[in-house]
Amino acid sequence: MADAQTKIQHLTWRAGFGPRAADLKRLRNSGLNEFQQRFFKASAGTPSFLEALSNPVEEGSMEDVFPKKRQVTEQERKDRKQVHFEAIKKLNRLWLAEMINSDAQLREKMAFFWHDHFACRTGNALHLQQYLHILRTNALGKFSDLLVAVSKSAAMINYLNSNLNKKGKPNENFAREVMELFSIGKGNYTEDDVKEAARAFTGWTTDYEGRFIFKAEQHDAGSKKFLGHTGNFSGDDILQLLLKEKNTARFIVEKIYRYFVNEITDDKRVNQLTDTFYTSGYDIGKLMYSIFSSEWFFRPEHIGSRIKSPIELWVGINRQLPMQFSDPDAAFGFQRVLGQVLFQPPNVAGWPSGNAWIDSSSLMFRLRLPLVLSAGTSIDVSSKPDDDIQMGKKDQPVRGMRATIQWAAYFNVFKDAGSKELPALLNRFLLQTSTGPSETILEKYSKNDSREAFLSSRSLLLMQCPEYQYC
C-alpha cells in the first residue's frame, strides 16, 4: 500500500502537473481528505482570459490583421503571419505559466486534456486564444456546453472546414470527426449518418474576429435521417442527438479513465462512471470528483504507471525544481525537441500516449534533460521542421536556452529534515514508482561535500533515472 504522501502526490500528478517543491510540507503533513478538498476548491473559480494578441478592432482596424478582399502582397501576408506566430508562442508561454504556477491545477490539466481531445491547429492567434478560453472555462463544466462551444469556435470551424460546408456542396470533414473523435466514437454511426450530419452543419461559418455566423442561405434546411431520427435537423440538433446517445458518455469516460487512471481499462468502473456521467447531464466536474475521491484511484497498480507526456514532464520538472530562462522562447524550443508543442497536435486525433512517446532518441533526451538544465549549458539538438508554422524558414537548433535553477529555494524546502532522512525524502518526493535505483548506486554518484551538494546531486540523479519518466 502506498504511503499518504505518495497518494497525495498521485493526485497532484494525475489531476494536475505534479507536486510543487514549495508544497513539500503540506504534502507530508496533510491528510489525504484535507488535501483533496483544498485541491478541488482551487479550481472552482473562473479563469482569466489569456490574451496574447489584442483584438485590433478595438484599436480601429481589423483590416490590418486580416485584410478582407484588399489585395495583399506576399510580404504583407508573411509579416502578418509572423505577428500571429509570435502571438501563438506568447499564448503558449502564458498557458504554460498557468500550468506551472496556478493553484487551479485540476482545471489546467482538464483543459490540457480537452486540448488533446478537441485537437486543433490554427495560425490565427485571435481564434486560438478564444479556443483556449473555451477549453479553460468549460474544463470542469458540462461536456455538452463544451462540445457545442468548441464546434462553433472559429478555430475548429476553420480547422475542420465547416466554413467550406455549403448547401449542395457539402464538406464532411467536421461531421465525420465530431462523431469519430469528439463524441460517440467509431462503430456507432454509418457513412450515411456522416453525409446527413454534414448537410445539417451547412451554413456554419465565422467572421474575422472569430464570431460564429449562421448563413441561412447556405444551410440545407431539408429533412435528414440521422441515427434513426428524421427531421429538418440543424447542426445544433445533431450535436444534441449525439449527446442523447449513451455511447457518447461512454466514449468520453473511457478516454478519461485511460488518461487519468490507467491505460488498461476496467469495464465495471467505466460502466459505473458512464451511468453517473450520463445521468448528471455530462457534468465533468462531478465525474472527475468521483474518480479522484474514490478509494480505487489510489490503488498501487495505478500509481506511477503512466509515462509522462512531454508537457507533463516539462511542467512537472518546473514545479519540482523551479527555474528561470533568459530566453523567453526556451520552453517552446524544449517542447519541440521533446515532441509535444501546445497548440500543435499532430492531427485532429490528438497526441499519442504511453509507450508511443518513447524511442531511443526521445528517451536519451528525456534522461539527459535534468543534467542539461542544471548545468546551465546549452543543448545542441534540432527539432523537426514544421513548415505550417515556419513558412519555409530553417529552424534554429535549441541553443543557448540556459536555465538557472533556483537552488536556494529548493534547498530551503528541505531545511528541517535531518541528513539521514534526506535520501528517502528525495526518493519519495521525486519518484512515484515503487522501485528505483538502489541506494548503493545512488550513493556512489552523489556528492557529499556539503548538504547542498548532496541535495542537488541526488535530486538530479533521481530525475535522470527511467523511473522518473513515470507518474
Binding site: Q75, G304, V348, D359, S361, S362, D388, Y445, P466
Partner: protein, 398 residues
C-alpha cells in the same frame, strides 16, 4: 516465410562474414549483417512541398509557361531528358544518371482528398493512411513490427536525425535516430546509466519501468554496434552540407555491412511561397552534390546495384505561380528512384496533364502507397499488405 525472414535479417555466409569482422563485433551477432547483394532502401524526404513542375519541366507545354510567366524554366536552361521534359538546371548529376539508366521518375503521385497542411500531408505519407484516417504508426515502423520480431539489434531502420519520424515508429518496434554515431555512442555510455541498467536487469526486470530500461539497454547496444561499424570504412569526399554529411554517414554504414535495411534522411525547406527559384536552386544544388558523392562512393565499392534512393515530398505545388514569384501548396508530385538496379528506367509514366486541373491543381494518377508496395515487395522482399493495411498494386520499376 523462412526465406523471407532470412533474406531480411540474415547474411548468407557466416564463415566469410566472421573472417572479415573484428573480434569485438562478434559478440553482437555477426550473422545479422546485410552482406553485399542484399537490398537497401534510402528514403530522401524533401520537406516543405517541393515544386514538382519546376523539377521535371514540361518544356513543350504552353500551359506551363502561361501559368508561370516569371518562374517557368526555359527549355534551353533545363537539362534535357527527352523531347517533352527536362530537369531543373541545378540537377546535372541526375541528368547523367538518367542517361545511364540509373534514374527513373514517376509523375503524378498523390492520394485522394489531398490535404494542404504540411504537417497533416506529411503525416499521411509517413503513416500511409487515408486522408480521413489517423494512424499512430508509420509504414517503416510497421515493417519493423512485421519483420523484426526477434532481431537482437533494432537498427534495421535508421534515421539520420536527432528525432525519430513517425514513419519509423511501429507498434512494438521503433527505428533508430541519430545524427552522429560518435555522439550517440558517447551519450549512451554514462557510468551511472550503465550501473542502473545492470542493476535493473538483475534485480527487478519485470517492474513498471521495464519498457524504458529495455529501450535504454537496446539503445546502448545499438549505439555501440553502429559506432564501431561506422568507423570501419573510410568513404569518399562529400560536400560539407548537412545532407552531404548525412549521406556520408549512410554510405559508411552501408559499406560496413551492418544490418540496416532502411535509411531515412531529410532536406528542407522547399516551402517556396516567395522567391522560389533562389531557394529551390540552392537546395537542388545541395542534393545534386551530395548524391554525386554518395552514388560515386557506392559505385566505387560495387554496391550501387543494391541501393535504391527514393525521394518524395508531402505535396507538390500549384500550377500557377503566385504574386511573390513563388508557388502555393498543391497536390500531386513526382518521385525519383535512383539505383544501379532499376528494372524500368527513365520516365515511368506520362507527364502531368495540365489541361485536366482540378481547381488549379494537378490530379494524382498513382497512389503513393503503390510505390510503397513496390519497394516493400520487389525491393525489400516483404509482404506489403500487412504493412499497408490494404492491397496496393505494385509497379515494376524494381
Amino acid at each position: 516465410m523462412l526465406i523471407k525472414r532470412r533474406s531480411f535479417i540474415k547474411g548468407s555466409s557466416l564463415a566469410t562474414a566472421s573472417l572479415l569482422v573484428p573480434r569485438f563485433l562478434q559478440a553482437f551477432g555477426v550473422n545479422e549483417k546485410v552482406p553485399a547483394g542484399n537490398k537497401v532502401l534510402v528514403v530522401l524526404q524533401l520537406s516543405g512541398g517541393n515544386d514538382g513542375l519546376n523539377t521535371v519541366i514540361p518544356y513543350r507545354n504552353d500551359i506551363y509557361y502561361k501559368a508561370r510567366p516569371s518562374i517557368g524554366i526555359a527549355r534551353d536552361k533545363a537539362i534535357q531528358l527527352n523531347e517533352e521534359a527536362g530537369l531543373h538546371p541545378a540537377l546535372p548529376f541526375l541528368g547523367e544518371l538518367y542517361k545511364e539508366g540509373q534514374l527513373s521518375i514517376l509523375n503524378s503521385v498523390g492520394y485522394p482528398e489531398p490535404d494542404r497542411s504540411h504537417f497533416r500531408s506529411m503525416d499521411i505519407w509517413h503513416t500511409a493512411s487515408n486522408a480521413d484516417e489517423y494512424l499512430q504508426t508509420g509504414w517503416l515502423g510497421r515493417l519493423l513490427d512485421e519483420e523484426c520480431k526477434n532481431c537482437s539489434h533494432y537498427t534495421q531502420a535508421v534515421e539520420i536525425d536527432e528525432m525519430l519520424s513517425i514513419a519509423l515508429k511501429g507498434k512494438k518496434r521503433n527505428g533508430f535516430a541519430f545524427r552522429d554515431p560518435r555522439k550517440l555512442y558517447q551519450a549512451s555510455r554514462s557510468p551511472y546509466m550503465e550501473d542502473i541498467i545492470r542493476a535493473h536487469a538483475s534485480e527487478h526486470a519485470d517492474q513498471t519501468a521495464s519498457y524504458l530500461y529495455k529501450t535504454l539497454a537496446d539503445t546502448k547496444k545499438s549505439a555501440s554496434y553502429i559506432y564501431e561499424n561506422s568507423l570501419q570504412v573510410a568513404t569518399g569526399t562529400y560536400p560539407s552540407t548537412e545532407l552531404g554529411r548525412n549521406l556520408k554517414t549512410v554510405a559508411s554504414l552501408i559499406l560496413s555491412d551492418i544490418n540496416t535495411k532502411v535509411y531515412y534522411v531529410s532536406i528542407g525547406s522547399f516551402d517556396t511561397h516567395v522567391g522560389q527559384d533562389v531557394q529551390q536552386t540552392k537546395l537542388f544544388r545541395q542534393i545534386n552534390e551530395a548524391l554525386q558523392a554518395f552514388v560515386g562512393d557506392l559505385k566505387k565499392n560495387k554496391r550501387f546495384e543494391d541501393v535504391l534512393v527514393m525521394s518524395f515530398s508531402e505535396f507538390g505545388r500549384r500550377v500557377a505561380q503566385n504574386s511573390g514569384k513563388g508557388t502555393d501548396h498543391g497536390t500531386a508530385n513526382n518521385m525519383f528512384f535512383i539505383s544501379g538496379g532499376l528494372k524500368q528506367k527513365g520516365l515511368l509514366n506520362e507527364l502531368d496533364d495540365l489541361r485536366a486541373l482540378r481547381m488549379g491543381d494537378l490530379q494524382y494518377k498513382v497512389d503513393f502507397r503503390r510505390v510503397y508496395a513496390t519497394v516493400l515487395q520487389n525491393w525489400l522482399n516483404v509482404k506489403a499488405e500487412p504493412i499497408l493495411g490494404n492491397t496496393f498494386e505494385p509497379l515494376r520499376f524494381v
